[in-house]
Symmetry: C2
Subunit: 273 residues, 2 copies
């Protein structure tokens, strides 16, 4: 109850990870269980269908994020426990920011009878990285190629800065039915600074039905299908491939002696039976 | 069993998230349960103590990563199910890359009687972001300030590139007992390109005992304690603070009309009782 004796609403902004139930956190499951209303983009609702049986469900379309945020807040303010779901991490290109922006417009304060919690999840770059091997072991930049809300010049400047400074580069939203040339310009810009043989991982639908993993290189990445459900990781100057894996070493110094011969001598193991 | 009739070992490279059991994924818990050997840095082992009772546990120190990787592989090759644990996501500044590097040295192939799976987790930047509000809603760069394995010039170049291209910047390993000047140079470099009033979030021990959340700005960030357990997020040119929250809008266009007045008219709600 709030100070005024009103029923206190709760709003959880939840990232459920790549999509399979296996990769949802305990906290995300718990708050979904304890909620009575779920708000989300239709596709995401379908992905967590088994978890949300018996709840009031409010579906919204992909471009209706503002409407979704407003509905969720209004319902929570009436004393409900509302979960707004995003895939991946709600704080990375998800719903968290927009909800706080709407709350601010509404004059919300933590003491106003509406509790808000962001529940972090496994973001797409972690999910995709785990399927590719270990491409994100060194500094990386995450860039969305969607220019709906950001001018293309800003995005391309980021691509160039990241390429020049040898960041591993993760590309979210690389291409859609309408946005097709952005990934072409991006590849061209990165190619200015990196070898054509730089490893590139292209993952569609990580941990979902239709999962597809491709490891190729910068010169050939555009020969493969790239779409709405694809995340791309472009290696840095040290990234290498090995046995269908994409691996970025942790540093540039050759500090480590990795010889297994040396290992055999060094490590008297106490192995369990 | 492998083709040669040997017992097949399994190796899981697991990120358990920020540290509290709440934020571990189901998959991570499941493979920990099914394993018989756990290998990890002592501090991490302590964080998941409740999950690993009854297992053979191999502790190693923080600087003994290579030794840890070699031990884990050797034990798994003997037919054990081994979990190597990292905090956060094992693929982001974690153990995944090093293990694959050692496996490569060993001539490992997927058919060699040793299965390897990377289990993704909630990385520190997601955990920290969720506690700060929504600072990572737009393109971001993740940079480790540890110059043990990477020349400082490379790191500082990345800081500059990220600052110049208006990335939100997440800093891992900002400072330790010995490394104290790197964060000072970093702040100075970013300040060249961003206002002193740019919001900065400093989070210690996210979701662990001793958690501490500070929201300050670029000009004052060095006035606060920063250490080994701290992750820092520096906003981009659009990031703002509101009620102890740090929020980065999703774009630069003012596409969204967020007025709640408009909302009240637009949204006839079907609210559950």
């Amino acid at each position: 109850m709030s100070e005024k004796g009103q029923k206190v609403g709760k709003m959880f902004i939840v990232g459920f990870g790549p999509g399979s139930e296996d990769h949802i956190t305990s906290r995300a499951k718990k708050v979904i269980e304890e909620s009575n209303v779920i708000v989300g983009y239709t596709t995401y609702i379908e992905l967590v269908r088994d978890l949300i049986r018996g709840k009031k469900i409010i579906y919204t379309g992909m471009t209706e994020e503002v409407d979704r945020a407003k509905k969720a807040i209004d319902i929570a303010k009436k004393g409900n426990t509302v979960v707004v779901i995003s895939s991946g991490d709600a704080g990375i290109y998800g719903m968290a920011g927009l909800i706080f922006q709407v709350l601010k417009e509404d004059g919300w304060r933590p003491s106003y009878g509406l509790e808000v919690e962001v529940v972090p999840g496994v973001t797409a770059l972690s999910a995709v990285g785990s399927l590719l091997g270990a491409p994100l072991m060194h500094d990386f930049a995450s860039i969305s190629l969607s220019d709906l809300l950001t001018p293309w010049e800003v995005i391309l400047k980021r691509v160039e800065a990241a390429a020049q400074a040898d960041f591993v580069i993760a590309l979210y939203n690389p291409k859609s039915g309408r946005r097709t040339w952005q990934i072409v310009e991006t590849q061209k810009m990165i190619r200015k600074y990196r070898e054509g043989s730089t490893p590139v991982g292209i993952v569609k639908s990580a941990y979902r039905d239709g999962q597809n993993i491709i490891i190729t290189d910068l010169d050939h990445m555009l020969d493969f299908p790239i779409g709405m459900l694809t995340t791309i990781i472009i290696g840095n100057s040290s990234t290498f491939t090995y046995e269908e894996l994409m691996i970025t070493p942790r540093g540039y110094h050759n500090k480590y002696e990795l010889s297994m011969k040396k290992m055999a001598l060094e490590v008297p193991l106490a192995v369990p039976e």
